[in-house]
Structure formats: structure tokens, C-alpha cells
């Protein structure tokens, strides 16, 4: 099955694509960024080659998002409507051109048609109009929003606000203002198409009138213009075709013969009663006028249509796609998608010691029974200092040597356990606050319990240093052991 024909031009960004782009941006606005990144990056990874420009990238993206080719996209619908509107404009302006030509070429037989009026309407007025259009085009480049100040634009803006609400309208109008560069070319081209249609209508009417009626042209002016002067002027106007179409250049005789005074309704050089003989002469102006219409009316407008088309295409092609929304789309398509994926973490983050009795403080010990002093994880203290402190603090007599547990040499742990076997001596464990209690410490306590009576006093004494949080960890951890014969204090 072949893909149905799309309205998209291959790799080219046009009106349909622009509308679809805006529609897609609006649709994506409230979607989670991660979903958009996943969607767009997977689209880009399917492409065989890299797009050469931002517009091409966006066009490909839009196509990929609409794989169903049977339903026209909003952009396609609007582009079709725009094409139809162009044709309507063409027909209307052609009819307008025909109507103006009919009015100018109206010949009842009373008076001949003034050549200067024909030139004025179809050459000079059009050139003034043409000049105005070009000035507006240039002006709109430096002041892109100036068209918005026209009453019609203000009316349309108010209408949009009423239809969709202030917020959406604001967003729409803000986005629309981004395309001012494209908008001016679209408008300019549409006007030129209209102007071409106007000239086509006028020329068709002119040719029809020349072909099917007898027109009499003359020239007449209040100004002091002689036949020589007018002929010179006409010859200048005929410069583009004079060399290859000399019959379409009015001769001095023709100009002389067709000077006309409405006051006595007579040609200047015509003897009384000779108007019928001059009819053929009076018709001699038409090739010149037709060429004027073609060269000074139709041709410039055709050139401007081409210019407008090229300008419009270039404006679409030069869209920078640099607003944050647009840049985000491009980044989603061109940047690698980085994800952090992880397994479920069953980690225990319950607060320590919650729901347990707080730790009790150590009591004084009897000096009759020596205590076993243990350095946990090689807590740093000299044996003498340790013994002296324990005696001062708890009145305890320390049995030497000071033992070690949890240190680098596990045989010391084993030696300690042998010392404790069957005895009841209290055990005073010196630990450094930053060496958080762990399973090994729990196992150590369990072993102490296993080697002696469950009422053996175990005092955990924390060295200086560390911070409050580290001390709280010890307190919470020991509280969770729920052993009433364990106490905690700082040494």
C-alpha cells in the first residue's frame, strides 16, 4: 500500500507545516517532559539520515507524528483554504480589473476614449500602488507589528480574545507575532496575485473590447502639452518593445490626428465631417495601450508574484526556531536521551529508635569487681588514660589488658570472648561516635550476652568529637536493641 499523497512539500516548511507545528506545540504543552523526550527521541532515532536544516527537521518530525495519511491535518486544511482563498482573490480582482477596464473603455460614440485616462488608470495609478506596496513591505521589515495597528487587525484581535479567552488569545497572539516575517510575505504575495488578476481582467476586457467593438481613442488634456511632446513621451514608454514591435509605437501623425477637443467634439486636424474617415486612425492607439497594460501593468506584478513567492519560501525556510518552545522540540530530537533507571530500593529509612525507650545513663560501678574495658573499632585512646577515666567516672577498676573488638585483627575479638567466658564482669565499650553501630556491633553484644549472664552491664561510652547526629544514631540504634542492661554515655 502506498502512502497517500500529503499536502506537505518534501522537506520544505510551508504554511501547512507552520500551522501543524503550532497545533502540535499547543497539544504538547501540558504533557510531561519525559513523555515528550521519549516520543521525539525515538522518532529521530528512526531516521536514516540527519536533516540538513531546522525546518527540514521540524517537517520530518511533523510527518512522523501523523502516520495516518488519510485524515488531513489542521495545517493541510488551512493550507487548502488558503489556496482556495487565493483563487477567490484572483477571481474577484480579475472581475474588478474587468469592471475598471469596462468603465475606462466605455465608448458610446459621443466622445472618443481618452488615451491619457487609460494610461493614468492602468499605468500611473498602478505604479503608485506598486510603489506603496513595496514601501509597506520594506517598512514592515523594520516594524513587523505595524500591520497590527490597523483597525481591522484590532477588531480581529478583540474577536479572538472573545472567542478563546484572554489567556489562550494572548498565547496565540504572542506566537503569531513570531511569524511577522512570514506574514508580511504571505500578505504581499496575496496582494500581488490580486494585482495580476486585476491586470489579467483588464487586459482580457481590453482585448475583447478591441476585438468585438470599434473603439476610438484620442487624447485630450487641459495642460499645454503639444502633440510632439506626447509622442515623445509615448515613444519613451514604448522603449521596451519599440525595437521588436514598432507598430505598437504611436507615430507623430497618429498623435496629431487624434488630438481631441471636447468643446467642439472634434479632432484638431480633422476637417468638418471627416470623423468617420478618422475612425481607423483613432483605433490605431490600441497596440500601444495593450503593450502598456502588459509591460507596465501585468509584467511588474508577475515579477512581484515570483518575488513574493521566493520571499515567502525564504521566510519559511529562515524561521530560526529559537523560541524556548521551538528550541525544546529541536533539542528533544537532536540531543541524546539520558535516563536514570533503577531497581526498587527496599532500603530502611525509618527513624532510628522510634517507639523504643530512650537509653539509660550508666551508673557507678563497684570497685570490688574489675571491669573489662574494650576499644571498639580501634577507638583511639591510650590504655592508661582509658583506665584513669573509667576509675574517675564510674569508680571502676579496669582489668588489664584493655581489649579490642571490631578491630583489624579478629583474633583479638576471639581472645576477648575467651576472657569473658562464664564471667559476670561489666563490659565498658569505648567507641568513636562517627563509627556508626552496625550488625557487627549487634553481633558483638549478642556474643557478650551468650558468654555471660543476661544482666551483665554493658556501657557504651562515646569518645569526644563527632557531632550530635552521630551521637543520636548511637542512642537510637542501642535503644532498638531493647536491652535494659545497656547504657550509653560520653566519656
Amino acid at each position: 500500500m502506498t502512502e497517500p499523497e500529503r499536502h506537505f512539500s518534501p522537506g520544505r516548511f510551508g504554511l501547512a507545516e507552520l500551522i501543524d507545528f503550532e497545533v502540535q506545540l499547543a497539544a504538547d504543552r501540558d504533557r510531561p517532559p519525559e513523555e515528550l523526550i521519549a516520543r521525539d527521541r525515538s522518532i529521530a532515532l528512526r531516521w536514516q539520515d540527519d536533516p540538513k536544516s531546522a525546518p527540514e527537521l521540524v517537517v520530518r518530525w511533523l510527518r512522523s507524528l501523523q502516520p495516518d495519511g488519510t485524515t488531513p491535518t489542521p495545517g493541510e486544511r488551512i493550507a487548502r483554504a488558503h489556496a482556495v482563498a487565493n483563487w477567490v482573490v484572483f477571481v474577484l480582482f480579475a472581475l474588478l480589473g474587468a469592471a475598471v477596464a469596462l468603465a475606462v473603455l466605455q465608448f458610446t460614440g459621443d466622445h472618443p476614449i481618452n488615451v491619457l485616462v487609460v494610461l493614468g488608470v492602468f499605468v500611473f495609478l498602478q505604479w503608485i500602488n506598486l510603489l506603496g506596496t513595496i514601501v509597506a513591505l520594506v517598512w514592515s521589515r523594520s516594524s513587523p507589528g505595524f500591520l497590527g495597528h490597523f483597525p481591522l487587525s484590532a477588531f480581529i484581535r478583540r474577536l479572538i480574545v472573545r472567542m478563546v479567552g484572554a489567556e489562550d488569545a494572548g498565547r496565540f497572539l504572542a506566537r503569531r507575532s513570531l511569524y511577522a516575517g512570514v506574514e508580511r510575505w504571505v500578505l504581499f504575495r496575496a496582494l500581488q496575485v490580486g494585482a495580476v488578476a486585476f491586470n489579467v481582467g483588464a487586459i482580457a476586457t481590453f482585448i475583447a473590447a478591441v476585438s468585438f467593438t470599434d473603439l476610438a481613442f484620442a487624447w485630450s488634456t487641459t495642460l499645454q502639452v503639444g502633440a510632439e511632446g506626447l509622442q515623445q513621451f509615448c515613444e519613451t514608454l514604448s522603449a521596451p518593445w519599440r525595437s521588436w514591435l514598432p507598430d505598437a509605437v504611436p507615430t507623430l501623425d497618429l498623435v496629431h490626428a487624434t488630438q481631441y477637443y471636447r468643446l467642439d467634439a472634434a479632432y484638431v486636424n480633422a476637417p468638418a465631417g471627416a470623423r468617420v474617415q478618422n475612425a481607423a486612425v483613432a483605433g490605431g492607439w490600441w497596440p500601444f495601450l495593450l503593450m502598456c497594460l502588459l509591460v507596465y501593468g501585468l509584467f511588474p506584478r508577475l515579477v512581484l508574484v515570483v518575488w513574493g513567492s521566493v520571499g515567502m519560501r525564504r521566510a519559511f525556510g529562515k524561521l530560526p526556531f529559537d523560541t524556548p518552545d521551538e528550541a525544546e522540540v529541536i533539542a528533544r530530537l537532536t540531543h541524546p536521551r539520558v535516563r536514570r533507571v533503577h531497581e526498587d530500593d527496599p532500603g530502611n529509612i525509618a527513624p532510628l529508635g522510634e517507639g523504643h525507650r530512650p537509653m539509660g545513663r550508666p551508673q557507678q560501678l563497684s570497685s570490688d569487681q574489675p571491669v573489662i574495658a574494650v576499644r571498639w573499632r580501634e577507638a583511639e585512646i591510650s590504655p592508661d588514660t582509658f583506665s584513669v577515666r573509667l576509675r574517675e567516672r564510674f569508680g571502676a577498676l579496669v582489668e588489664l589488658p584493655i581489649a579490642s573488638a571490631g578491630g583489624h585483627d579478629h583474633s583479638e575479638d576471639e581472645a576477648l570472648l575467651r576472657r569473658l567466658e562464664g564471667g559476670e564482669q561489666p563490659v565498658l565499650v569505648l567507641a568513636e561516635p562517627w563509627n556508626a553501630p552496625d550488625r557487627a556491633f549487634k553481633r558483638f553484644v549478642r556474643t557478650l550476652r551468650a558468654t555471660g549472664p543476661p544482666t551483665r552491664k554493658i556501657y557504651v561510652l562515646l569518645t569526644a568529637g563527632g557531632d550530635e547526629e552521630q551521637r543520636d544514631i548511637w542512642a537510637g540504634y542501642l535503644a532498638e536493641l531493647a536491652d535494659p542492661y545497656i547504657a550509653l554515655d560520653a566519656l
Binding site: 530500593d345 573499632r377 578491630g407 557487627a440
Partner: protein, 484 residues
């Protein structure tokens, strides 16, 4: 989650309990999902964190339970050791021998991924003194024969770093410092690049991952610049129109209208600040409920203290307005072929100075003063008495917003994923915009002024210019990151 292929570099983060293994992983791969708490043994199972680029896993980091009984494990191994060649086998035997028992639970779990081929990242805390018993852990790890690297976590004072380094150098090919609570992108990048040196066959994957992360980081800065410039445009163009029954109602309603206007400006700033946080993958919505997140600065946007610290200093403001005036006058001088003998420049400069002095008085202005400037009344017999508030007229206002946004960006960048609290705002009293060079400030001033003038329809070019300026400032600013 599927098993990554054999070639995927894997790094097992190991160490004693509560030494910051999980924090390092959270900060290294920017993942708020890593469970971190002061409870010893928070991590009970090995948890694998994959970094995927375009659907391919480029490397994995494995969080492990902490070493708890390494001396006994080493003792067990040494009792059975025959030669160095047998050591790996002995470690395997340790893992297998106690399978299904309650013994060596943590050691078995943390050694398993290493025996399956993961490289070792051994984490110690540089704030704590070195003790000989750590050597048992290093020995056990060395016995596995896997490539290894040590990380000294220097979240605090780091006073024992040198002791640690001397010890670790003897056991590990690489020793690096890493601050899990204040890590910058550059530090993360360097660490990842160091990973590549552990195993030459992994280099390609790691380099690819670093490139992708770099692209992501650059894009984030671009996104932050966009958020800030959009916020500036929104704030500078904000204007509200209120309808009052008649003119007499204005004095009674004035304070309310002004408050509404300023509240909207505050909201614009707040929304932008939250967006910046989400750019850096900080998940604000599902943050654990017990954690207080103070995203916004405590100082109000319109507080005098805010304007004292943020925005342009008086000297910078006067320089800006004077130079702008002089430049405008200079253009007039140039237009008349300097026949004016620089009178335009001098007069323009003086005029600019005057404007600057006036702006200084508004810099500390109360909200009502600001609004007085912005109120315009348009009588409409049908609709009542219309009052407009805004746009904010102060020249310094956008600079204050920009400085606060940069300070917030600082805090977000310094907000490591291992930390639950956002670092405190800049309270050093130094003006953050002093780091922005004068010509850049002038260009910003021009852009702000254009936006304020064309507040109804800000031209695309002006928006683009502002975005580019802010992007440059953000990138420069990111280089001089303040790590608390």
C-alpha cells in the same frame, strides 16, 4: 529492569556503613530516588542504577550494603588462603559458604556484584580519622582482583584527607576526592572520566555517557536561560487593568490593587524558580512529606534588604545610566559631524546621571511608589473608572529579578541530590551582578528598556537578544559556582 549486557561498565560502590555511599550515587547520577538516611544499614540490598543514553545502558552504579564484619571475613579467608592465586576463589567460597545463613549477610551482598565483574568504588569519609581496621575491607576488596578506585567523601571539613590518601594509595589504582553534598558538574564529569581508566574496554561507553551528560548539562543551562528570560519578559510586561465604580474609589482600593499587582510579580518569580529546580531533575512534587523545601529566598522580592544585595549597586546603576545617556548624546554629536564639540555627549551623560540618581531613589521605593508611577486612568463612562497598574517602571527591578534568579540557580546547582535541603540563599552581602561585566550590564539595560517600552508586543528580536545575554550570563555564572 532488564539485565545489562556483559560489556556494560558496572561499578559497585562499597564501604563502611554511613560513609556516604548512597549520597555519592545520588549526586553522581542525579537521582532523588536513592534512599538516604542517617540509619546505619539503610541500604539492605544491592540496588542497580543504570544510566541509559538513547535506550542503551552505558554504565551502571550499584549501591551496596556497607561492610560490617570485614575483619572476621578476612580472618575467615586467611585461614583458608594458600597463595595469592587462590584469593579470588576464597572470596567466592566465603560468599557461597554462608549462603542462606545470617552470617556475613552484608559482605556477601556487596561482594556478589564485584565477583560478577563490577569495578570497585571504595568510599571513605575524609572527615573521620583513619583507623587500621579499614585495611581489612581494602584487603578483602583487593582479594577480588577487580579494578578499584577509592573515593574520599569530603562533605565536611575533610581534615583527615591526607591520612586517608596515604593509606588508600597503597591499595587503589586511583584515589579521588568527591563532595557528595556540593558536587559540581565538572567534578562529576572528572569522576566519570576517571572511571574509564579503570578498565580500558569500558572507555568507549563512559566517554559516550560523558558526552551525553555534557550535552544534557549544556541544554539545562540553555533551559535555565530561557526560563529566566521568559520570567523577565513576563514580569516587565505585566500590567493589570482594574475597573472601579468611580474616581473616588481609587484612594480606598489603591493598596489592594498594588498588592495584587506585586503578588502577581512574586508569583511569576516563584513559578520560574520552581521550573529551574525541575530542570536539574529535582522532583519537587513527590518529595518526602516530612522534608521542608524552602525553594524561595526568605527575603521578599520588594524588600529593601533584597534590593540592597541584589540588582545593580548604586555605582553600577549610575555608571549604566550615565554611559547610556552619553552614548545617546554622542550619536547626536556624530550626526552633526562633531560640530557640537561633544556637547551632546556631555549633556547626554549629565541627563543619564540625573536619571540614575532618580532611579536610586526608586531602588528602595516602596511598592506604592512604584505603582504610582504606573497608574494611568482612562475614563470610560460605560465601564466605570479604569485603573491600570504596571508595568513596573523601575530600571533596577529587572536587575533585581535577574540577580535573584542567578542566586537561585546557584543554589539549585549546589543542591546535590544527596541533600534534602536547598542551600541557603546568598547572604554574603556581595552583589551577584558585580560578576557581570559592565558592557554586558549595559546591553542588558538596553534590552530591559526596550521591553519596558514595547510591553504590549515585545519584538522577537528583543526576546532573542535577551535570551542570548541571559544565556551567556548563566554559562559564565555556572563556571563560578558557589559550593556551600
Amino acid at each position: 529492569m532488564s539485565e545489562p549486557s556483559v560489556e556494560v561498565p558496572r561499578f559497585a560502590v562499597v564501604g563502611r556503613v554511613n560513609k556516604g555511599k548512597s549520597s555519592i550515587i545520588a549526586s553522581l547520577i542525579e537521582n532523588d530516588a536513592v534512599k538516604i538516611s542517617p540509619r546505619p544499614g539503610t541500604t539492605t540490598e544491592c540496588v542497580r542504577y543504570d544510566v541509559e543514553v538513547d535506550g542503551r545502558v552505558l554504565f551502571s552504579v550499584i549501591d551496596t550494603p556497607g561492610f560490617e564484619d570485614a575483619p572476621r571475613a578476612l580472618h575467615w579467608i586467611k585461614q583458608r588462603e594458600v597463595t595469592a592465586a587462590d584469593r579470588v576463589q576464597r572470596v567466592r567460597e566465603l560468599v557461597d559458604a554462608f549462603d542462606g545463613t545470617e552470617d556475613f549477610v552484608e559482605e556477601r551482598r556487596l561482594l556478589q556484584p564485584i565477583l560478577e565483574g563490577a569495578a570497585i568504588l571504595y568510599v571513605v569519609n575524609g572527615d573521620e580519622p583513619y583507623r587500621k581496621n579499614y585495611e581489612t575491607e581494602m584487603e578483602v576488596l583487593r582479594y577480588t582482583g577487580q579494578p578499584a578506585m577509592a573515593l574520599i567523601n569530603r562533605s565536611g571539613t575533610g581534615e583527615h584527607i591526607e591520612d586517608w590518601r596515604r593509606a588508600l594509595d597503597q591499595y587503589f589504582k586511583l584515589v579521588r576526592l568527591f563532595d557528595a553534598h556540593g558536587v559540581t558538574w565538572e567534578e562529576r564529569r572528572k569522576l566519570l572520566e576517571a572511571f574509564a581508566t579503570l578498565q580500558p574496554s569500558w572507555e568507549r561507553s563512559i566517554v559516550e555517557a560523558v558526552d551525553a551528560l555534557r550535552a544534557q548539562e549544556e541544554h539545562r543551562r540553555y533551559q535555565v536561560a530561557n526560563i529566566i528570560s521568559d520570567m523577565l519578559v513576563d514580569a516587565l510586561t505585566l500590567h493589570l487593568t482594574f475597573v472601579l465604580p468611580d474616581e473616588r474609589a481609587l484612594p480606598h482600593e489603591k493598596a489592594r490593587l498594588e498588592r495584587e499587582f506585586h503578588d502577581k510579580l512574586r508569583n511569576i518569580e516563584k513559578k520560574a524558580h520552581r521550573k529551574i529546580a525541575t530542570v536539574y531533575l529535582h522532583r519537587l512534587d513527590d518529595w518526602s512529606p516530612e522534608t521542608e523545601i524552602e525553594l524561595e529566598s526568605h527575603d521578599d522580592l520588594f524588600a529593601k534588604e533584597t534590593w540592597d544585595v541584589m540588582g545593580l549597586s548604586p555605582r553600577a546603576l549610575l555608571t549604566l545610566t550615565t554611559l547610556t545617556g552619553a552614548a545617546a548624546g554622542g550619536a547626536v554629536d556624530a550626526a552633526v559631524g562633531f560640530a557640537s564639540v561633544f556637547a551632546g555627549t556631555v549633556l547626554g551623560g549629565l541627563g543619564g546621571l540625573g536619571v540614575g540618581i532618580y532611579e536610586l531613589t526608586r531602588r528602595f521605593a516602596s511598592a506604592s511608589n512604584v505603582t504610582d508611577q504606573a497608574i494611568s486612568a482612562m475614563k470610560n463612562p460605560k465601564d466605570g473608572y479604569r485603573v491600570r497598574v504596571g508595568p513596573h517602571p523601575s530600571l533596577n527591578f529587572p536587575f533585581v529579578l535577574l540577580a535573584r534568579a542567578l542566586d537561585h540557580f546557584d543554589r539549585i546547582q549546589a543542591w546535590a541530590h544527596a541533600k534534602k535541603e536547598l542551600p541557603a540563599p546568598n547572604e554574603t552581602g556581595t552583589q551577584i551582578l558585580e560578576q557581570v561585566d559592565a558592557s554586558m550590564r549595559r546591553r542588558l539595560g538596553k534590552a530591559f528598556s526596550k521591553i519596558q517600552k514595547k510591553y504590549r508586543d515585545v519584538p522577537r528580536d528583543t526576546r532573542r537578544e535577551l535570551r542570548e545575554l541571559v544565556h551567556r550570563i548563566v554559562c559564565e555564572h555556572a563556571k563560578s559556582l558557589r559550593v556551600p
